[in-house]
């Protein structure tokens, strides 16, 4: 399994299921006993569908400045189906895996189109984290909110700074995507296309990755 590098979410899920089936109940118990951190949220829910509170209880997540966004992402229907709307109250293992699958690394040999697809998926995930009201654009308010959260751990910085930064960032987007604007023009917010455009430089497909498959289960189970 370690060497498998699935190309899309379905393949990944299949691989994970196959591996999942291989794990004996005994191993599972040891896994749970020895590594309570692993898939902590799922464990805390004790097999039942996971709720927001379960995520909020995870200790390591407490210090994350954008915790609420991350947790919300797990319940966001848009991350599960193409045109899902709203958010769910509880999720199962499958949803959990789906969210995880956004963080898979690209395979060793990917074509340009695949790369682009992965890019889009990953950026869409980030975009959804911004776009809380699901109207297809990131408005200034939403942007400001995220920036504030991001900077909330840096101590002395006030809300004003965050605001200023969000404003500047927004202007930047406006200048990149719209170009010259008349003074009375009004920039609605960042659409996904603009979002793609402004983050073209950021090689997200090589960065937004978690290596799930590196752990040797036999070692961890000891």
């Amino acid at each position: 399994m370690r060497y498998a590098r699935p190309n899309n979410a379905e393949e990944l899920k299949a691989t994970i299921r196959a591996t999942w089936a291989l794990i004996t109940p005994e191993q599972c118990h040891r896994l749970i006993d020895s590594m309570p951190r692993r898939i902590a949220a799922v464990i805390q829910a004790k097999g039942a569908p996971t709720k927001r509170d379960d995520f909020n209880k995870v200790q390591d997540l407490k210090d994350n400045p954008i915790r609420s966004q991350i947790v919300e992402a797990f319940f966001d229907r848009r991350n599960f189906q193409k045109d899902g709307v709203g958010s769910m109250e509880e999720i199962g293992f499958e949803e959990f895996l789906t969210v995880m699958s956004y963080f898979r690394a690209p395979a060793l040999h990917t074509t340009e189109e695949q790369r682009e697809e992965i890019r889009r998926a990953k950026l869409r995930f980030l975009f959804n984290m911004h776009d809380t009201d699901n109207d297809g654009t990131i408005t200034l308010e939403e942007y400001r909110h995220v920036v504030e959260e991001l900077l909330s751990r840096s101590g002395s910085l006030g809300k004003e700074t965050a605001k200023g930064i969000a404003d500047a960032a927004m202007l930047e987007v406006a200048s990149i995507s719209v170009g010259h604007m008349a003074p009375d023009e009004f920039y609605e917010g960042i659409t996904f296309e603009d979002f793609l455009k402004i983050l073209k430089e950021l090689e997200i497909e090589t960065r937004m990755n978690i290596r799930f498959l590196n752990m040797d289960t036999t070692v961890l189970c000891k």
Binding site: R2, Y3, R38, I39, A40, V58, D60, L61, D63, N64, I66, Q69, I70, V99, F103, A105, L108, M129, T139, L140, E141, V146, V147, L150, L151, S154, G155, S156, G158, E160, T161, K163, G164, I165, D167, A168, A169, M170, L171, E172, A174, I176, G179, H180, M181, A182, P183, E185, F186, Y187, E188, L199, E201, E203, T206, N209, I210, R211, F212, N214
Partner: protein
């Protein structure tokens, strides 16, 4: 003017460095030095003795005491010659694009060697073992250690160490053993070389050399992973090589090697490496801690850095642990903290000097290599040398292939075939190899053969691989990374993504480097920074970048003001340069983006030019940008304040400046930083301030007559806009007025002046400045004028050229 001083200071330091090098040589290798000087004495003594002969009792009118200055003088001349060569290459920039500098240096060395050979002159005893290990090597390594891009390095830490340690071991042992096998063949006539000596030679030629390759990587902006792996590998590989070299050097002198010695050797290898790392960490932290207290004695700040790094090196050498490891770790550790503690001038000096001495010693070694190639008598053995060359290439390629296969499953982004080829092909051998071979003790039997072999390998790799690597990589179209990510959005989303990834990792209990980074940053912010940094200000890189961009904008505004003024006759000679710049700007209105960069970066352009492969690699998290920003801001503010004290109109300049759209949004934190700097009397009269002061003062003078009291109308209109904006809080409007009032719209929608006032109240440092100036309509007259000209503060980039004619 400050720049002139600056350069002078650097020259002085350089001189000191050279002198110290010279004395070092003198002390270090006294026996050898006297040997060469005595050979030179007969040539010179007639002149020197001429006077004493004629009148020993009288005071000589003119004496020549060459032996006294011989060694430092010769070294100085060598360095000078090498520097001239370097200058020469850059006259024709196209040469260095296609041919690496090291090739050119070796070629020049060959020519000089040829000349020396023809007049039967011996090369000076510059490169001795002590000279190299105590003075030149630490400089070379400090250079690469200090400029190691920290962030990608830690992201690829495992791979780097893997290639550096295991790769070098693989190479040395592989090459050594296969060469030993070759030695058994009678036809080559080298049966007398035993296994230990072969291993020694192999360890010498497995040190790879980064500079040429990294320059190429930088130019074609290859992707980060490959870049950092090559960089890190070369750095740590030096450490491993030197450890192995010492080990084998020791073993080669033993005649009987027992099994116990082998195990001791292996254990020693780890003790030496890890011990060096620990030492480096210790010294790094102590150095950072020391700079916390240098606020009042700025002039010794750079010295502190050098002393501590060198101390780490020497003490590691003293207790015979890896001194390279120590100095590299020391540089890596302290860099982050030190650069925040020291002033910008010191920071620049540190960088400059480190870069300079590093490149000088490297240049010298390459140069010397060329000379030695001609002047020494070689021991040529076709079989041995050609096979060592073959094995060098073979084992490198094989090693990369095998090692990437092993490391790939552990990497998030595995190396593909192209990367592997790149890695294998980048194994140029360079200065360190040559120096190691040249400084072999004479007790090693086949020393001459080893020197010849090393020279052949170096020349082959540097010339053939070095020249072909650029076209090859271009041809193969290796994945590239754009390194100039300078937009706020990218920065924000990078952070967002990192936090998300860290959060998800927390959720599923996975530990990767994001997790560790998160933990380290927390620890760092909570404890280390509090201890080591003078004015601790945890700062997100988003904020840093934001400030930087903001400042760039401000600079532009100031620049454009300068442009206006230079058109007026009031300024004549002082701003010739600026005038030229503004003229050229008019000539090329289309090339706005370039010009923008040019103007905003012209403060530290020198560094960018010299630090070819390090500076372009300024990652957003890099302290460099932040440092530059803060310092620049400080000096900017100083210049403003200075302007305000200079003339009654100065206030207007500063007011105008403060109330400019971009700046009126300044976060309070920013001012407090600047305030710290302002308290120090020494604080940067850098070129920034000197550049701005004149334009501002004169701008205020020139604008007063031009803009009579007519501003109230404008103000009221802008107030209306503000109120309107307050109503439209929800929507985002990219009118610049709104953004300029974001921070203070609630309290100060009455008047424009109120808004500036409000900000200055938040800013503790500059309060009195504001109070000195009465609410004078002149003060902000300029502001509405500007407002009407430019709509978006951040869009000005694309807008200001059309706006210029209106200003004039």
């Amino acid at each position: 003017m400050p720049y002139v001083f600056y350069l002078r200071a650097i020259h002085f330091l350089m001189l000191c460095e050279i002198l110290s090098l010279g004395y070092g040589a003198n002390v270090g290798m006294l026996p050898k030095a006297t040997g060469t000087s005595s050979s030179n004495l007969p040539q010179w003594s007639p002149k020197g003795d001429a006077h004493p002969d004629s009148g020993a009792s009288t005071l000589p009118l003119f004496t020549l005491n060459y032996p006294r200055v011989q060694i430092p003088l010769e070294i100085t001349l060598w360095v000078l010659l090498a520097s001239f060569a370097k200058i020469g290459f850059h006259v024709y920039h196209k040469i260095t694009v296609w041919v690496p500098e090291s090739c050119l240096l070796i070629s020049i060395g060959l020519i000089v060697g040829g000349i020396m050979h023809s007049v039967h002159e011996e090369p000076p005893a510059v490169l001795t073992s002590n000279m190299f290990f105590l003075y030149m090597l630490p400089l070379i390594v400090l250079d690469s250690g200090y400029f190691m891009p920290t962030r990608p390095f830690f992201e690829n830490f495992g791979t780097v160490l893997w290639f550096a340690v295991v790769g070098t071991l693989w190479n040395s042992i592989g090459i050594g053993i296969s060469l030993f096998a070759i030695c058994q063949i009678e036809a080559f006539g080298v049966q007398d070389i035993n296994l230990q000596e072969n291993l020694l030679f192999a360890s010498i030629i497995s040190a790879v050399e980064p500079v040429a390759v990294l320059t190429v990587f930088e130019d074609i902006s290859i992707h980060e992973q490959l870049y950092i792996v090559v960089f890190g590998e070369c750095l740590f590989n030096d450490a491993v090589t030197v450890v192995l070299y010492n080990l084998f050097n020791h073993v080669a002198e033993l005649h009987v090697v027992e099994a116990g010695d082998v195990f001791l050797g292996i254990a020693r290898f780890f003790v030496v490496g890890l011990g060096g790392m620990l030492f480096g960490l210790l010294f790094g932290f102590v150095a950072a801690f020391t700079t916390r207290f240098t606020g009042k004695v700025r002039e010794i700040e750079p010295l502190i850095i050098f002393l501590y790094s060198y101390l780490a090196y020497l003490i590691a050498e003293l207790v015979a642990i890896s001194s390279i490891m120590a100095i590299v770790t020391c540089a890596l550790t302290m860099k982050y903290y030190v650069e925040e503690n020291v002033s910008q001038r010191s920071c620049t000096t540190i960088r400059h000097v480190i870069k300079m001495v590093g490149s000088v010693s490297e240049t010298l070694i390459f140069f010397f290599l060329g000379v030695v190639t001609i002047t020494t008598d070689h021991e040529w053995n076709w079989g041995y040398i050609l096979f060592s060359l073959l094995f060098t290439l073979l084992w490198r390629g094989l090693g990369i292939l095998v090692l990437t296969q092993i490391i790939n499953p552990f990497r998030t982004i595995p190396f593909n075939f192209k990367d592997q080829f790149g890695l294998a092909f980048c194994g140029l051998r360079g200065a360190v190899s040559f120096a190691l071979a040249y400084t072999l003790p004479d007790s090693i039997g086949p020393k001459k053969l080893f020197i010849t072999g090393t020279i052949v390998i170096i020349i082959f790799t540097v010339f053939i691989q070095g020249i072909t690597i650029r076209p090859l990589l271009k041809l193969m179209n290796v994945r590239k990374t754009n390194r100039n990510l300078e937009t706020i959005n990218v920065e924000i989303h990078k952070r967002l993504m990192e936090h998300t990834v860290a959060g998800i990792e927390d959720l599923c209990g996975q530990w990767s480097h994001y997790y560790w980074k998160d933990k380290f940053m927390k620890f760092n912010n909570r404890f280390i920074r509090k201890i080591l940094i003078r004015d601790n200000r945890p700062e997100s890189s988003i904020v840093a970048l934001y400030k930087k961009l903001e400042l760039q904008n401000t600079m532009e505004i100031l620049d454009s003001m300068t442009g206006d003024i230079s058109a007026t006759p009031s300024l004549i000679s002082l701003h010739e340069e600026r005038k030229n710049a503004s003229k050229s700007r008019k000539v090329l209105p289309s090339d706005v983006r370039n010009m923008h960069e040019l103007l905003s970066k012209n403060m530290y352009k020198i560094r960018q030019r010299t630090v070819s492969y390090t500076n372009k690699h300024s990652l957003p998290n890099d302290v460099t940008a932040k440092e530059i920003l803060i310092r620049r801001h400080t000096s900017l503010r100083r210049s403003l304040r200075a302007g305000s004290f200079h003339s009654p109109h100065g206030n207007k300049a500063s007011q105008k400046f403060l109330s400019l759209p971009v700046n009126s949004r300044l976060p309070p934190g920013r001012f407090s930083h600047a305030g710290d700097g302002d308290n120090e009397p020494e604080m940067n009269l850098s070129s920034v301030s000197s550049m701005f002061r004149h334009p501002q003062r004169s701008s205020s003078r020139t604008t007063i007559p031009l803009r009579p009291l007519g501003s109230l109308k404008v103000v009221s209109s802008s107030v209306k806009v503000v109120d309107e904006e307050n109503e439209k809080q929800r929507g985002y409007r990219s009118s610049h007025l709104r953004s300029s009032f974001t921070s203070s719209a609630q309290q100060s929608s009455r008047s424009l002046y109120g808004s500036t006032r409000n900000i200055s109240d938040e800013d503790g440092g500059s309060e009195h400045e504001e109070q000195e100036s009465p609410p004078d309509p002149h003060a902000w007259v300029q502001d509405p004028q500007n407002n009407s000209d430019m709509q978006h503060p951040l869009l000005r980039r694309s807008q200001w050229p059309p706006q210029k004619p209106q200003d004039e």
